[in-house]
Amino acid sequence: MLALRFNGPRHADRFGSDLGLLVHDFFGGLPDFWEAAPFARTAYPALSVWQDETSVFVEASVPGLKPENLELTVVDNELILKGRRESERKSGDVAHCHEIRVGEFTRVIALPVEVDTDRISATLRDGVLEVTLPKAESAKPHKIEVTVGR
């Protein structure tokens, strides 16, 4: 079971996902987030994580962000995603509907297996961040041959 670690500094907010996991989410710039979506009890950004035999894959929905607004780090087998979404408002704008959240965000994902940090790749396209984390050799399945004992 994948664990999304909870760590509770100030401003931290704890959200349970459908899988009952604890999520480490940490919003800076509180006023913007709460103003924008005071009743939205969902973690930001939305993440999907899956794996196959060779790699772990992470997908994050980050519309409105460019690569320079994002920071990805892997340390101690945790993937840390930090970012900042700027507001598009100009002075004089009258807001009639304000659901899009702006400000800083951080999410931490504890990876299920050890990964080869030198070969991690990440691409951002149309607001979707895709991270591919190749598993370390030792983490890949290895077939073990069984010989008949005497």
Binding site: T42, A46, L47, W50, Q51, S61, K66, H96, R125
Partner: protein
């Protein structure tokens, strides 16, 4: 003419689930901002499957519909699954006059921005006073 456009509460009330061949699954966040000469509607739609976007304005209703592509993952391969996929539709009513022919839409960084210009007469104009020393 009413000067009210969508307020946040109205955004939710006005969203219509009209019948169609595709079922609306979820509601992506929307910002509506009024500038001097236009309304701007921004919708968070990361990773649209190409060819599935539909934006149309009928009478006073703007409807935005698209399908967000899902990654190809075997059903039991997911460890965490929060990213929204599938089709969605949101509608909003504009009681103010809109120059329908001038509506434009742009998709960038996963955000669809629809620009609805106000008709020319609606923007303020300074009126010159003739024949006085004022």
């Amino acid at each position: 003419m009413s000067t009210d456009v969508c307020t946040t509460k109205q955004c939710r009330d006005n969203a219509k689930e009209t019948g169609g061949t595709r079922t609306a699954v979820f509601r992506p966040p929307i910002d509506i901002v009024e500038r001097d000469n236009a309304y701007l509607v921004a919708v968070d739609m990361p990773g649209i499957r190409s060819g599935t976007t539909d934006v149309h304005f009928e009478r006073d209703l703007l409807t935005i519909e698209a399908e967000l592509a899902a990654a190809e993952v075997p059903a039991d391969g997911y460890l965490v699954r929060e990213v929204a996929t599938g089709t969605f539709r949101r509608s909003m009513r504009f009681e103010q006059a809109i120059d329908v022919d001038g509506i434009t839409a742009e998709y960038r960084n996963g955000v669809l921005t629809v620009r609805l210009p106000k008709p020319r007469e609606a923007t303020s104009r300074k009126i010159r006073i003739e024949g006085t020393s004022a």
